[in-house]
Structure formats: C-alpha cells, structure tokens
Amino acid sequence: MILILLILIPLLTGILTFAFKSGDGAKAMALISSIATLGISAYVSGANYTAPVSFSCPWIPMLGTQFSLMADGMSSMLCLLTGIVVMVVMITNTNKEVEHPGSFYGLLLLSQAGLMGVFLAYDALVFYFFWELALIPVYFLCSKWGGEKRIPVTFKFFVYTFVGSLMMLSGLIYLSLQNPGLTSYSWPDIKAAGMALPAATQQWLFWLLFIAFAIKMPIFPFHTWQPDTYEQAPTSVTIILSALMVKMGLFAVLRWLLPVVPVGVAFWSNTVIVLAIIGIVYASLIAIVQTDLKRLVAYSSIAHMGLMCAAAFSNTNMGMHGIMVQMFNHGINITGMWLMVSMIENRWGTRDMTKLGGMATVAPQMAIALVIISLANIALPLTNGFVGEFMLFNGIFESSSMYHITFMVVAGLGVILGAIYTLNMVQKAAYGNVTPMVIKKDLSANEYIGLAVIISLIIFLGVYPKPLLDLTSGVAGMLAK
C-alpha cells in the first residue's frame, strides 16, 4: 500500500497545484509534496534491506494485466533518487518566478508521479502507461516554458520517444501472448515467455524493445533530440530529463530487456557496446568544442550514459553493480551541474563560456561548489563518481566479450576527454579575468541548501558507498548470470 502513495502523492498534489494562482502557494505545495514523497521513498528503501515491498490489485483482468508495483533494490534506489532530485529542484526554485506557477509546478509533480510509476511497475502494461505518462507533462513543460526554439525541438523529442514507445508496445504485446493458455503482462510471466522464445525471435524482438530504451537514454545514433531539448527546456525540466528520465531507459534495459530476451541480448551485446562507446567518444569530442554551458553538460551526459549502457551489456556482476551505483551518482552529479549552469546564467546573463570568468573572485561559494561538482563529474577519487565509474570499467574489462580490452581502452578515452572539457569549463567560468555580473550575488539561502544536499551526497557516497551497494547488490547479482 505504501508504494501506491509514491505515485498518488505527487499525482494528487500535482492536480491540486493547478488550482493555485499565486506562485508562493504553488511553490509551498510542491515543496511539501516533494518532501513527503522523499520521506516515503526513503522508508521504502530502508524496508528493502530486509525484503522487497510490493503491491498488487486487479485492473483489467481480460487483458491479463494487474496494477502491480514492486520495489526491489533497484526500484527503491531510483525512487529515492527521484525524491531527492525533485526536492532539490523545488528547494532551488523557491526564489524564482515563473509564468503560470500553478501549472508549472503541477506538471512537474505529475512528471514525478509518472517516473515513480515507471520505476515501480511490475506489470508490462502498467510500465508502458507510466512510461508515456511521464512524457506528457514534460512535453507541456518544455513547450510552454522553454527557450526560443522550444516548440519544434520539444516536438521532435516527443515524436522520437513516441515512436520508440510504440515499438516497445508491440514487442510487449507479442511477449504477453507467448505464454500458452494465458495472456499476462506480469513481470515473471513476461520473463518466462521471453526466455522460452527461440533465438531467432529473440533477436528481432530485442530491437523492438531496445530502440525505445536507446532513444530514451539516449544511445548513439538515437541521441539527436537530446542536446537541443536540454538546451531549450527550462532548467528544472532539464534536471528532471537528464537526472531521471534518461534513467528510465537504463532501468528499462535492466528490468525489461536483459532478463527477458537473454539470447537476443547475448547476440547483440557487442553491437550495442560498440554503439555506446562510439557515443562516449563522439559526445566527449563534441563537448570539448562547445562554448554553450548547457550544450556542454548535455553532451557530457550522453557520454556518461554511454558508459553505463556499455557496462549494462557486459554481463558481469561488477558491471551491473556499478550501474546501480552510477545511476544514482550520475543523477546527483548532473543535477548539481545543471544547478550551477542555471545559477551562472542567472548571475551573468549568458551561458557562453567565452564571456564568463572570475567567479572565484566575485562569488567564491559558487566557485567552490562548481569545482566539487565538476570533480565528481570527472570521477575523481573520493567523489561518488569515482566509485561508480571504477566499477563500470572493471565490469567492461571482466566481460567475456573477445573485444573487452579494446572496449575498455576506448571507453577509457571518455574519462580523459571528460577531464578536458570539464576542467576547461571550470577554468573559464571560475578563474581568469573577472567579467561583470548582471546580478551581483553569491549563493542565496535556498540555493545553498540545495547544493549542500548535492555536495554532501557526493562526498558521503564517495567515501562510504556501502549503503548504496548493499541496497542494490541483490538485483545486480540476479542480473549478471
């Protein structure tokens, strides 16, 4: 029963928030709701150390679908991440003004409800429902509150993901009909149906499912929607997209692809890893030449997701465990990065790195935060990023693929390139000649709190990642067989 609260709280408060005319009311409502959701997801994660939490009730029996939710280690970890990120977004937004605040915060909460549903779904049709529902509020958020080119860019994003989801739907329908004598969408039945399929069928079914997830992550060459969308979306939405929505893709690979069509996965592993690694190098190289901060972070996110995707197909215990950890860490780090970008844009009135400089002199607190978050982004030891990336590389190295060393070396290039563009950004933005600020202000109280949450998590999980590892070790062990 507690699981359904994770969906219902943001859903109902989201609908209520639409009614608010005043910005303060909407913000307060959204903040309270996000704290409540975080509290429950923390409780669910805590309960997970003993046994997974689940919930089920009949929905459409004719179609063999049940409204069943399940929080194992991976799900509860992602719910916790969602709770934290949304709360940080709400905290840092408290001193910002938007047009139509009621609808803005309402839609944000609705997208949170969709995300929670995706991470908790234990039934393929429920999963599909939430997968689409998480998208719709984001579509409206980007199209209404985004940048200049928002409408065509968001539309491209929507159509891309919609095509993917429809492919996935046909795959899931096909799977649900494969169990002799019953139509069922529940995860164990889908898994049993998929595993029993002959190799040739699994091979084409793999792509039907994987394209949807690849678009969402995004994996090269399905990534073209991403930099534009991140750039045009308002920062709060960019955070939701890059910290949480892309995890939907990875999560879906781990829950609905790897266990379901194992033979298909084994057949295509190398192909996917190659695509992922091309993505890492390609995105890193493009990131180096970016001058726009938002685009730089967007490309760096493609590179990071590529590494996680490569490890997901490495089929090693270490790799799987690394993804679990890194999904959480990447969510935290990228949230920090976007917050910094939005603060810089707010203070200096531009995102162009060539026009920035001297933050350490005029706004030292901001500069410290930027440096710490950037170091976590390039996975320096003692930050959370290191723990995750180390495990990922270890996983790729241990994989049984005959090209494992090549994969590992080329993917490793990404780390070096990552250091180049990130440090370059830090140098240009934080040091050098002082450029005049439009708003002369260091961190405000709410930004301070938001960044404090992020930075303490970065350092805590960098030094002592054990709670995260323990939470997800069960799922990781099950995935790598």
């Binding site: 459409i60 004719m62 539309f155 929507f158 159509v159 429809l166 739907l169 329908i173 009909l177």
Partner: protein, 460 residues
C-alpha cells in the same frame, strides 16, 4: 429487434412533429427526448435477450446475438451524446430541422440491421438505409455549393459501390446457392473454392471498403466530409462508419472466416494503403475539418485491423474502437463548431480564452493519437492485440505503429496552436454551462474507456 421498429416509428414521429410546429428548438428537444427513448428500447432489447441463445426473427433474415445488441446500445448511447452536443448546430443548418433528426433516426435503423443481418439481402437493405439518408444530409445546406457537390459526389460514388456490392452478392449466390451468411460459411471451403465465389468476395470487399473509406476507395471522403455541414460530418465520420465496419467484420468473420488465407493479403495491403494515405495526407492539411476527414481515413485503417484478425478479440476491438473513436471525434467536432475559423490558426490561443475547451480538446486529441489513459489507446491496443494474436501480420502491426507516430504530428498541431501560440480565436456561439457539462462528460467517458475498458465490454 424492437429497436428496428422503434427507430422507424420514432423517425416518422419527428417528421410529423415538423409539420405541427416551426419552432426549431422544440423540435430539437423532442428529437433529443426520442433518441433517449430509442436508447431505452435498445436497453430493453438487451436485457430481455438471453446472452447464450441467438434469436432468428423474420424467418431467419436476422440473427440477433448478444454482442450485436450491445453494439447497438453503445452506438445509440453515442448517438444520444451526439444529438445533445450538436443539436443547436443542426438547427442552424437549414429550414427542415425535423427532417434532419428523422434522417439520423433512420440511419440508426440501418445500423441495427447491419449489426444483426443474417442474410445478404438484409446486408444490402441495411447498407442502403444507412447510406441514402447520408446522401441527403450531406446536401442539406442547400445554399452552399460545396454541400451540394458533396451530396452529388457521395451519391454517385455510393450508388456505384452499391452496384458492386450487389454484383458480389449475385456471384456468391451463384457459387453457394444461398443468401444466408451462416449457410454460406458451411458451403464455401478453402480448398475447393469456386472462382465465382472468390470474385464475389472481392467485389463485396471493394464495396464495403468504399463504405468505410479505405484506400484506394477513399477518394470521396475528404470532399464529402469537408463539404457537408459540420454536424453531419461528425455523424458520418463516426457512427455511420462504425456501423459499416460492424457489417464488414460480421460478414468476413462469419461467412468468410474460414477462407481468410484467400483474402488476408489483399485486405492487409488495403489496410497499409489506408494507413499511409490517411496519415500522410492529413499532415499537409491546413483546415482542421479536412484534417479530421483524413484522420477518419487513418482511423479506418486501424479498424481494418479488427477485420483482418479473424478471432474473438477482434469483436471486442471493433466495439471499443467504434466507441472510443466516436466519442472523441464527436467531441472534437463539437468544439470545432464553436469556432468561426476551421483552420489551425483558428485554434491559436484557445487555452487562454477558454481553458476548459482547450483541455477537453487536448484529451480528445490524445485519444485519437492513442496516448495511454485515453480510450483511443485501449482501442488501438485491442485491435493490435487481435492482429498480433493472429501471428503472421507482424509487419503490418509495426507499419501501423509508425503511422500512429505520424498521426501525432497533425493531432499535436492543434494542441500546439491552442497552448503555445498567441491569438484570439473568434467564437461562433457562446459556450453555455450545458455545453461545458456535456464536454466534460464526453471527456470523462474517454478517460473511463482508457482506464477501465472492461466496463464497455462487460456484456460480451
């Protein structure tokens, strides 16, 4: 069966009412009341018929099964909703308001025949009763040249296709020596199929494809739907089309189901062509009304999936699709009629001017595009599932899904215009509290269809 008689009698009553009074409003009110009476008669039919034993009234000319009655009831309920939503707009079309309502009533009589026919002759009579009132309704705006053109075009093409239907029936009679569709099923065998019968099946398929506006027999659709007075377009594109579909699936499952391997390929090509033409052409339209005409072709492509899949889910699929599509489309047309300008630009800024209207339109468009939690998703889901279960048409399923993705483009253009563009849409008439209530009700039905579709299929 009582409903067939009731529809005829009630239609005549409306016509006489037109002689008694010239007050359009009171005629419309009477008509709305009589449509609810018709719904009552349908429910009466439904509850007094045993679910397991089909009746064979009129010397076996009809075969009344429970799901047919359920389809009739649902469609009549949609008809009531339609009448309530557009009755004011029907009053504005022309002088003879009573006749319009009576003709719609007669179309329902045709619908009841098409859902229960057991004999080729009844199929023919049903198609004619369904079509002839539509020819008249299409031309009811006599001062408008486009309306007259629509009527003439529809009539000529319709008459032609009816001829082809008769030809098909004749050939089939020659091959099977019966008009009875059940007996025909037992006479026709796949391994020893008379070429006469095969030609007959193809002719009938062509005629029915014409009625449901499947490509390449769709040419009349955009002009007729665009030229007809908007309230009647809403009816022709939805309930009348659903009736033709029910007749289609009934014949091809009951009589020709065992021969499916002989006609599946032809029909799957027709389906693919319909999806392609409908969706791709809709993208280039500038008028929302014309876009909806092409969208109705595209949606027909999805409904053809149900005909292709010869199995039990297909029946459920066609019923849920008919209801979901009808409700959402009627809703959009009801909103469209409130606006002066039928182009996309006419919708600019509607969200600011009238948030409720914009919101319900968004839900209806979501439904047509097949976004989850709306009826349209469940409808597409059922027909896709029916075809996937059939097994050998996976290519068509994937093609259909790609086309569904294209449909997002033109449906979302309306949403973009309403929410993200600035403008001050001119309204045709005021949105009254009654209108708001009805639109919200329609919206709730769309969402209910998407969340608990079993409510609408419980009687199957």
């Amino acid at each position: 069966m009582k409903a067939i008689i009731a529809a005829t009698v009630l239609g005549i009553i409306i016509m006489f009412a037109g002689l008694m009074t010239d007050n359009k409003k009171s005629i419309a009110t009477l008509a709305a009341a009589l449509f609810f009476v018709l719904l009552g008669v349908n429910i009466w039919d439904l509850v007094t018929t045993s679910p397991n034993a089909p009746q064979l009234p009129f010397h076996g000319m009809l075969r009344i099964e429970h799901y047919s009655l359920w389809f009739n009831t649902l469609m009549t309920a949609c008809g009531c909703l339609y009448i309530l939503l557009v009755r004011k707009d029907i009053q504005k079309v022309g002088m003879h308001v009573a006749e319009y309502f009576a003709l719609i009533m007669f179309i329902f009589c045709g619908l009841y025949l098409l859902s229960t026919y057991n004999n080729m002759l009844m199929l023919f009579i049903g198609i004619e009763i369904l079509s002839i009132p539509q020819y008249i309704l299409a031309g009811s705006d006599k001062r408008n040249l486009k309306s007259s053109e629509a009527s003439l075009k529809y009539f000529l093409m319709g008459a032609f296709s009816t001829g082809i239907l008769l030809m098909g029936i004749t050939l089939l009679y020659g091959a099977s020596r019966t008009f009875n569709i059940m007996e025909m099923a037992s006479v026709l065998h796949a391994d020893s199929l008379d070429p006469l019968a095969l030609a007959g099946i193809v002719f009938i398929m062509i005629a029915l494809c014409f009625k449901v506006s499947a490509a390449p027999m769709h040419m009349w659709t955009p002009d007729v739907y665009d030229g007809s007075p908007t309230p009647f377009t809403a009816f022709m594109a939805t309930i009348a089309k659903a009736a033709a579909f029910f007749a289609f699936i009934r014949l091809f499952q009951v009589s020709f189901g065992s021969l499916s391997e002989r006609w599946t390929f032809v029909l799957s090509v027709v389906t693919a062509a319909t999806l392609l033409v409908g969706n791709v052409t809709a993208v280039f339209q500038q008028s929302v009304k014309r876009m909806l005409a092409y969208s109705s072709i595209a949606q027909a492509g999805f409904m053809l999936f149900a005909v292709l899949a010869v199995n039990a889910i297909a029946w459920q699929g066609i019923i849920i699709y008919a209801v979901a599509y009808t409700v959402a489309t009627v809703g959009i047309f009801a909103v469209l009629m409130k606006l002066k300008d039928y182009t996309y630009d006419g919708f600019n800024g509607l969200a600011k001017k009238n948030p409720l209207l914009a919101f319900v339109t968004t839900i209806f468009l979501f439904s047509l595009a097949g976004i989850p939690l709306t009826g349209g998703f469940m409808a597409k889901y059922y027909v896709l599932m029916a075809v996937v279960q059939q097994g050998h048409l996976m290519w068509l399923v994937i093609f259909g899904l790609l086309m569904a993705a294209i449909s997002v483009y033109y449906y979302f253009r309306v949403i973009i215009a309403m929410y993200f563009k600035h403008g001050n849409p001119e309204m045709n008439s005021e949105v009254t509290t009654g209108d708001k209530f009805l639109l919200i009700l329609t919206c709730v039905i769309v969402l209910l269809l998407g969340v608990v579709p079993q409510l609408f299929l419980n009687n199957m």
